[in-house]
């Protein structure tokens, strides 16, 4: 039983001195210990627990927290204080010490902010749903991003980090959805089909004109939404009513009426602007956001130029393809494309029909999207867009979305372009660090040196044995006898049954034979340690093991992938592709296995998390994640070693297990007994004591693992 009497200030001081490393930091803890000593034991435990947890992240924050938390214990419940501490640490992770200290000091603002967090909706939580929502609506493929204010540049919709104007969370989500829909409506119903900058600068106060115009345009778009998405429109009205937003002023009702016509365009809004400009502008609707003509103009100019080129190039490609299919057509005549709009009042956007030389053709998805996007910008497809580009006229590679080479990203300054983020478990904090690991996939440099052939020769006896063993494990049709139903009569059983019957005993009804297909249906990813410590013979043994393993798995027919992992600090976590799950085992894969070289450190959490995600995309009954490793998780300079690394790896493995993956570890670290049972569980690892035996063992372990 724990002692329930309060700790003495002396004991508190000793603890604080240890956690806050007073020896080096010279922080004053005397007064603090006295104040804490006056609290009840339960409060002391709570407070000191948090100080200890925060101290693992940053000592300064922990110190400040201790000082501020004492006074707030009376104001807030403990759950809120915990949330406050976590929030401060999140800010520290994202923005550094100074903003985090600000959070600690401005407890009051946090109390208000935490109201936003509890009732409001966070961008990161609704982002996924809203993005799918926007993609479901017709039109261009829009992106969603977080920003200070609500606006669009016509390709990306920007939404705030937190929406919390309403009391209830579901209303806040509805508000968020309304904002998204209104921005979408701007791109869909042609708000940008006029030169807004020119039109607005014609007024003496262009700021004011912009406000008026935006409000007029919002009226027009609202009526578009009311026709297109009546359910949402009702919701939008409800939100406004709940916020007590007043109905438009007298003459604005007239504008609204005029803009509600189905054929009203942005030009009608501009026309009415002249009339509305001198007057008062009504307060904006709660979902109105901002209109930024400059951002739009910039984005549009680039897009229009790009899409014209892309479309013409793609059409040229299409004609090429079609001609190849029908070589007897006359060659020289240039192809003429036309588009036909179904003559219907409210046709769906992507119903455009593409006609080549009077024959309708089905455009591929990318061309269809281009056509839609161009139509949104210009209202129709100009004829000169439909002339296929001549050979060499454009270099489209300039405009295709580029996948940046992970190595190139590192030339120059650090940034996070093209990377995937993974959280990491901080055991000291007992909480995840959000988006902590910056992960990139890279290809292993191929080395064509015949390594795999040499390995096969070296282990030729073993290879033969492996093939035999694994062939025996392959999918096959087994003939089940004495079944109650089946394809064929089991004569043996029938004879016996008839004999039984003449004998007077009971006749069995199990008289049939049935072929039963036993299906393995296993997908496995091998996660290979490529840290610097594998240099030398461990690396050789690993590569040999992989060659033999591939040989065996090819015989078996299981689906498998091989990835190497390494990295330096959380900002450079790298996964090396050796074989993707759907890639055949070919010379390139062999050359990549040969090209596996020791890299940097052993950060494991991100690798497990990423491979778990990949494995979860595969359809298989049994999924395995097998790690080949030579030691504990360990990374350079950011605390990823010892308990921290082990706990994060353990957490990542638990996540994998929860999603239905069986993790397993094969290691050559003779001290593995000390930490592997904790990470993988008592039975899910094997220590190979001799590196030399690794090639044989890995395959053998796999056989045991997956044998029925």
């Amino acid at each position: 039983m724990a002692d329930a009497s309060p700790l003495t200030s002396e004991r508190i001081r000793l603890s604080l001195e240890q956690w806050l490393e007073v020896e080096f930091t010279f922080l004053q803890v005397e007064d603090l210990s006295h104040t804490i000593a006056a609290l009840s034991r339960e409060e002391q435990n709570f407070l000191l627990g948090w100080v200890q947890r925060i101290a693992t992240t940053n000592i300064q924050i922990a110190h400040q927290f201790a000082r501020h938390a004492i006074s707030s214990l009376a104001l807030l419940d403990q759950r809120m204080i915990g949330a406050w501490a976590l929030h401060a640490m999140d800010i520290y992770d994202r923005a550094g010490l100074r903003p985090a200290m600000k959070v600690i000091k401005e407890l009051d603002t946090f109390i208000q902010y935490s109201h936003e967090r509890s009732a409001g909706v966070l961008f990161e939580d609704v982002n996924g749903i809203l993005l799918t929502f926007v993609h479901g609506l017709s039109g261009r493929r829009l992106k969603l991003e977080q920003n200070e204010s609500v606006f669009t540049d016509s390709e990306t919709l920007f939404l705030p980090a937190v929406v919390a104007r309403m009391q209830k969370a579901e209303d806040n989500f509805a508000l968020c959805k309304a904002m998204t829909a209104l921005l979408w409506a701007q791109t869909r119903f042609g708000t940008f089909r006029a030169d807004l900058i020119e039109a607005l600068t014609a007024y003496p106060d262009s700021e004011k004109a912009l406000k008026h115009f935006h409000t007029l345009e919002t009226l027009r778009l609202e009526s578009c939404i009311s026709r297109e998405l009546p359910g949402l429109f009702r919701e939008m009205n409800r939100l406004r009513a709940e916020l007590g937003e007043i109905k438009p002023l007298q003459n604005w009702q007239r504008y609204a009426h005029e803009l509600a016509r189905p054929d009203a365009t942005v030009h009608d809004s501009l026309r009415l602007l002249a009339d509305a400009y001198p007057g008062e502008v009504p307060p904006p609707a709660c979902y109105q956001g901002e209109l930024r003509p400059e951002a739009i103009a910039q984005c549009m100019a680039a897009r229009i130029a790009r899409e014209k080129i892309l479309l013409r190039a793609k059409l040229a490609e299409m004609t090429q393809d079609l001609k190849q299919q029908q070589p007897d057509e006359t060659e020289d005549r240039p192809s003429r494309f036309k588009v036909k709009q179904p003559n219907e009042e409210h046709a769906e956007l992507n119903q455009l029909e593409l006609i080549l030389d009077d024959v309708p053709v089905a455009p591929p998805e990318d061309v269809r999207q281009l056509l839609t996007s161009i139509q949104l910008d210009l209202g129709s497809i100009p004829p000169d867009y439909l002339t296929p580009a001549g050979p060499g006229e454009y270099d489209t590679s300039l405009f295709e979305p580029k996948i940046s080479d992970p190595d190139e990203v590192w030339q120059g300054t650090y940034h996070e372009e093209g990377a995937t983020f993974y959280p990491e478990w901080d055991f000291g904090r007992q909480h995840y660090r959000k988006n902590w690991c910056v992960m990139r996939e890279k290809d292993v440099t191929q080395v064509h040196d015949g390594f795999s052939l040499l390995t096969l020769q070296k282990h030729s006896g073993l290879v033969k044995h492996l093939r035999r063993t694994f062939e025996a494990m392959r999918d096959e049709n087994r003939l089940l006898k004495r079944e109650a139903g089946g394809d064929e009569v089991d004569i043996d059983a029938l004879v016996e049954a008839l004999a039984d019957a003449y004998d007077g005993s009971e006749m069995s009804d199990r008289l049939f034979m049935r072929t039963h297909r036993s299906e393995r249906n296993i997908a496995v990813i091998f996660m290979v340690d490529m840290s610097g410590s594998t240099k030398g013979w461990i690396n050789d043994a690993e590569r040999e093991a992989l060659v033999l393993l591939c040989e065996a798995l090819e015989t078996l027919g299981d689906r498998y992938a091989i990835y190497g992992f390494s990295g330096t600090t959380r900002k450079r976590c790298e996964l090396y592709r050796i074989k993707r799950i759907d890639e055949p085992y070919n010379d390139e894969v062999k050359a990549r296995i040969s090209g596996i070289r020791p890299q940097d450190y052993t950060r494991m959490g991100f690798a497990i998390r990423h491979l778990t995600r990949l494995l979860n995309e595969v359809q298989a009954r049994t999924k395995l994640l097998i790690t080949l490793s030579d030691g504990k998780p360990d990374d350079y300079n950011d605390g990823y070693r010892g308990e921290y690394g082990i706990e994060d790896t353990r957490k990542a493995l638990q996540e994998a297990q929860r999603s239905g993956i069986h993790p397993f570890c094969i290691t050559i670290d003779s001290e593995a007994q000390n930490y592997l049972p904790h990470m993988y569980g008592a039975v899910n690892y094997t220590v190979v004591d001799e590196v030399k035996k690794l090639p044989l063992k890995v395959t053998d372990i796999y056989r045991r693992l997956t044998h029925r």
Binding site: G128, I129, L130, L131, T132, F133, H135, G136, L137, S138, K177, A181, L229, P230, G231, L232, E235, P342, E344, A347, E348, N350, Q351, E365, G486, D487, E488, V489, L494, L498, A501, L511, T515, R517
Partner: protein, 270 residues
């Protein structure tokens, strides 16, 4: 009404099924049937392939024997097998053999799902030999003149394991099906489910929204069949948003985020 028990070859489609032609598929099927060519129907699920087969069976006045293929369907399930009755073995024809004898239309739905050995059985039926080898009886069964083989296949599921082999597909006259054009789909939904024109229009619009999501999280958008289901619920007084949730959203995905997004789309629309 009492349920009738029919043998497969007695199953004639008696009243004209509702079918809207989208192109020349009826004429092509007619011609193929006259020339004893087998037919392959391609297209996403729920776009009217089975309905088309019923319609053609009615039109040609032949019994329709449908086999829905599953991954445990073997050749003997199609051709037939021996059973033991009172100490004797008795041969029982499978649905394919029955159709061949009776001159019915045999429709193998989702053929790629079946085991590989079933393909071998249909090959000699699908070319000009038109015979069904019955290995276990040691006989060849010649097809009745009225017999017709039709199979369906959904190329949307792009899985290496579930692809139709060239040697199989090149024996068939292929008809491609897709979701009907907007106008027609509205008409079909209204007619089949009994909702009014505005509601049918909304449902079709909703289907297009989900079809926009194909490839970004959804394997398939909502099919015409699902629209009809939702329409029927609505016509019986279910709230449209609830009907779309049960009849469409839950049917096309299990992913909770996708469900929520589809749900937002339908609540915006109705």
């Amino acid at each position: 009404m009492q349920a009738r028990a029919l043998t497969p070859e007695e199953y004639f489609v008696e009243s004209e099924p509702y079918y809207e032609s989208t192109g020349d598929e009826i004429a092509i099927f007619d011609a193929a049937y006259k020339n004893k060519l087998p037919v392959l129907l391609k297209g996403p699920t729920g776009c009217g392939k089975t309905r088309f087969m019923e319609y053609m069976a009615w039109r040609l006045k032949r019994p329709l024997i449908t086999v829905s293929c599953h991954d445990d369907l073997t050749a003997s399930d199609l051709v037939g097998r021996f059973l033991v009755k009172g100490g004797e073995t008795v041969w029982v024809d499978g649905p394919l053999a029955r159709s061949v004898r009776a001159g019915a239309i045999c429709y193998l739905d989702e053929i790629v799902e079946a085991r590989k050995d079933t393909m071998v059985v249909i090959h000699p039926l699908a070319d000009d030999r038109r015979v069904l080898p019955m290995e276990k009886l040691g006989t060849l069964l010649e097809a009745n003149n009225d017999f017709c083989l039709a199979i369906s296949y959904n190329p949307g599921y792009q899985s290496v394991l579930k692809d139709l082999k060239q040697s199989t597909r090149q024996r068939f006259v292929a008809l491609e099906f897709d979701y009907p054009a907007v106008e027609l789909e509205r008409k079909i939904v209204a007619r089949e489910s009994g909702v009014d024109a505005t509601m049918a229009e909304r449902l079709v619009k909703f289907a297009h929204m989900t079809r926009n999501l194909k490839g970004s999280g959804l394997e398939e958008g909502a099919s015409t069949r699902l629209l009809v289901h939702a329409g029927k619920l609505i016509a019986s007084g279910v709230d449209p948003v609830a009907a779309c949730r049960s009849a469409i959203a839950q049917a096309i995905t299990d992913d909770s985020e996708m469900l929520a997004a589809v749900q937002e789309l339908s609540s915006s629309l109705f």
